[in-house]
């Protein structure tokens, strides 16, 4: 019985090998009758806010520009669920069944990294407006992003701290993928600066609200700078508030998860002077004011909507110039001059990473405002 089944399996696979040769040749530079683009991102689940925001940006762009070179555009949306396995099969379906040559995605880094081998094998271009893992930099030739790598944020943060007085750093991180990823990169970036000293490196449980023990440790180690990577504004708010209560004399830094009304509700004036490094929309960018009013209220953060919009714009620009041919689109993008989008100025480096600027904001009078170094 066993042998019989093994034999059948081999015959079946041999048939698959011969019979299932797929036409993977890239389409010509002519435009198809309908330009089908794919989207894979977290439409449900914990990261859905970001997936929906990116989608909103893409939707707005194509509602304003429904055709590329007079051919209508159709975006086919698939839910990646912020999960590698789900994103991979979604990408595979879009490529095999819907025959897309271009995918907006993933949202989460895990999605992007799982889609990458499939995209590379099939020569399909992907662009992520949400993945921040440094691993995406080297994920492949056809893999692009207009959202910056966390390592860039970490580098900017480390560079800033190294160029200012307080160099004894305490690092407090929440036990989530996001925060732990950041923790690794900050520690990595700090090694480039011999003058920086990591005096405390503590991780705490999800949704923890009492940091007094950890902060006391930091105080004992004479930390004068504190990096708080909590998953939500309220968590970061508690860290900041309790740091002040314990009398820590620290300059506090954090990433994009600092900002939110709850941060100031909880931290109150302890939040004054906290410095935030993040990918920020620049309100002075041309087109920003007009588009932001057209976009729905952001579920996560408006920057994702803006970057989604820009990704759509850059895709349309490429397709217009070189046709719906993934390899040609890829080559076009590597050579593309600066694209002035509503989320920032975009230019891809040799890895497909964007040169989007990391902004710095400081908490002043109960809100975060842009500041220059």
């Amino acid at each position: 019985m066993f042998k019989r089944i093994v034999l059948i399996t081999f015959i079946f696979s041999a048939l698959m090998l011969t019979g299932c040769t797929e036409d993977k040749t890239v389409s010509t530079s002519e435009l198809p009758d309908v330009i089908r683009l794919g989207y894979v991102g977290p439409l449900t689940g914990a990261a859905a806010a970001y997936g929906q925001d990116i989608k909103a940006g893409i939707d707005l762009y194509f509602s304003e520009h429904p055709t590329i070179g007079d051919k209508p555009v159709e975006v086919i949306y698939e839910d990646g669920k912020c999960n590698g396995a789900d994103a991979a099969v979604a990408a595979q379906k879009l490529i095999t069944v819907d025959k897309v040559r271009f995918i907006f995605g993933g949202g989460c880094s895990g999605e992007t990294l799982s889609m990458a081998p499939i995209a590379e094998e099939n020569k399909v271009v992907t662009i992520s407006s949400g993945s921040s893992s440094p691993e995406v930099t080297t994920a492949g030739d056809y893999i692009f992003r207009d959202y910056p790598s966390d390592s860039k944020v970490a580098q900017d943060m480390a560079a800033y701290i190294a160029s200012h007085d307080r160099k004894k750093v305490a690092l407090l991180t929440e036990q989530t993928d996001f925060a732990q990823g950041y923790r690794m990169m900050i520690k990595d970036s700090m090694t480039a600066y011999a003058e920086l000293e990591l005096v405390a490196d503590e991780a705490y449980g999800v949704d923890n609200a009492d940091f007094r023990t950890l902060l006391t440790k930091a105080k004992q180690q004479e930390a004068n700078a504190l990096i708080s990577i909590g998953q939500s504004p309220s968590t970061n708010g508690f860290v900041v508030k309790q740091a002040k209560e314990l009398g820590l004399d620290v300059q506090i830094y954090g990433p994009d998860t600092l900002s939110g009304q709850e941060f100031f509700d909880i931290a109150k004036d302890a939040g004054e002077g906290v410095i935030q490094f993040m990918v920020v929309p620049d309100p002075t960018q041309p087109g920003y004011a007009e588009k932001i009013s057209k976009l729905p209220e952001a579920q996560g953060a408006s920057i994702f909507q803006l970057l989604g919009y820009d990704a759509a714009g850059m895709a349309a620009l490429a397709i217009e110039h070189v046709g719906y041919d993934a390899t040609a689109i890829k080559d076009y993008w590597y050579d593309m001059p600066i694209y002035k989008g509503i989320g920032g100025d975009h230019k891809f480096d040799e890895n497909g990473d964007d040169t989007t600027k990391i902004g710095m904001r400081i908490a002043k009078d109960g809100e975060f405002v842009m500041t220059e170094e």
Partner: protein, 288 residues
């Protein structure tokens, strides 16, 4: 076409996973919520050993299975002393611990960033890249798993497993060392879960801790219950269903604005309906 091959491969790997949990939970009554942890151990062993240290695929699988077996054996010593409800809770806890180890042991696992660039398996110089060949490999693994477990459960050993499931006191009075059998079952289950993990790692070429969190353990249990506990063929069916139903929903044509949510709600409804209409699963011989 590639999409169908992708699904077939995924279903086969989940078949191995579901079979291994059936062995533990369906036949022996050990309702483990930490099966994904052993799945993760296999995946990470293969990923780390092949990417970082250049080990061969087969060796990495063997080490992964061995590691999973050792950890399962050690964990089972305190774990199997617990009564049912406590056991479920603690196995739940073990799953969370496992996830956090993968997340935090950054020097080995690369933490949240995951491990990418896992290459297709090369066995005795032959590369299994390309979906048709990989499907071959996975099917062979699935068939071997099925036949090995089938041999065991159809033998007098299987009768003892079921005896333990039905009433462990009667089993011990019947002369069976319940603790020893349970430990062996739990360990063998972990072995095959690790095999599935190694295959998934080389298939997706990228893994992260999130791929092995608690919810995955729950999904394996759902696939098991869906296909039917205590019936090995049911496990294959359960794996097929749990992968296929969401895929079919992709083609239903929900409006774009609510596509994600509608797929999830419909999927949930289907599962609930199946449980109401047929609580023992499609081919089940055992209701919890």
């Amino acid at each position: 076409m590639d999409y169908i091959l992708h699904l077939a491969i995924t279903m086969s790997i989940w078949g191995i996973l579901t079979l291994s949990l059936n062995y533990v939970a369906g036949f022996t009554g050990i309702i483990s919520l930490s099966h994904a942890t052993f799945y993760g151990i296999g995946a990470y062993s293969t990923a780390i050993l092949t990417v970082k240290y250049g080990f061969s695929f087969l060796l990495s699988v063997a080490i992964g299975m061995f590691l999973a077996a050792v950890i399962a054996y050690i964990v089972s010593i305190p774990l199997l002393k617990l009564q049912e409800d406590a056991f479920i809770l603690v196995s739940f806890g073990f799953a969370i611990i496992g996830y956090h180890v993968l997340l935090n042991w950054q020097s080995i696992t690369n933490g949240a960033l995951g491990i990418k660039g896992i290459k297709a398996p090369v066995i005795f110089g032959f590369s299994f890249s390309g979906k048709p060949l990989f499907l071959c490999l996975v099917l062979v693994a699935l068939i071997c798993t099925y036949f090995i477990l089938h041999r065991i459960v159809k033998s007098p050993y299987g009768t003892i497993m079921k005896n333990i499931r039905e009433n462990s006191i009667v089993a011990s009075v019947n002369g069976h060392d319940v603790t020893a059998y349970k430990r062996s079952v739990y360990t063998v289950g972990a072995l095959f879960a690790a095999l599935a993990g190694s295959l998934m790692a080389t298939f997706l070429m990228f893994i992260e801790p999130k791929s092995f969190e608690l919810m995955i353990s729950v999904f394996i249990l759902i696939a098991l219950i869906l296909g039917g506990m205590g019936n090995l063929k049911g496990s294959i069916l359960g794996a097929v269903f749990i992968i296929l139903i969401p895929e079919i929903l992709r083609f239903v044509g929900f409006p774009n604005t609510i596509i994600g949510e509608m797929q999830q709600i419909t999927y949930g409804l289907i599962l609930v309906l199946l449980m109401i209409l047929r609580p023992q699963g499609l081919l089940g011989e055992y209701k919890i």
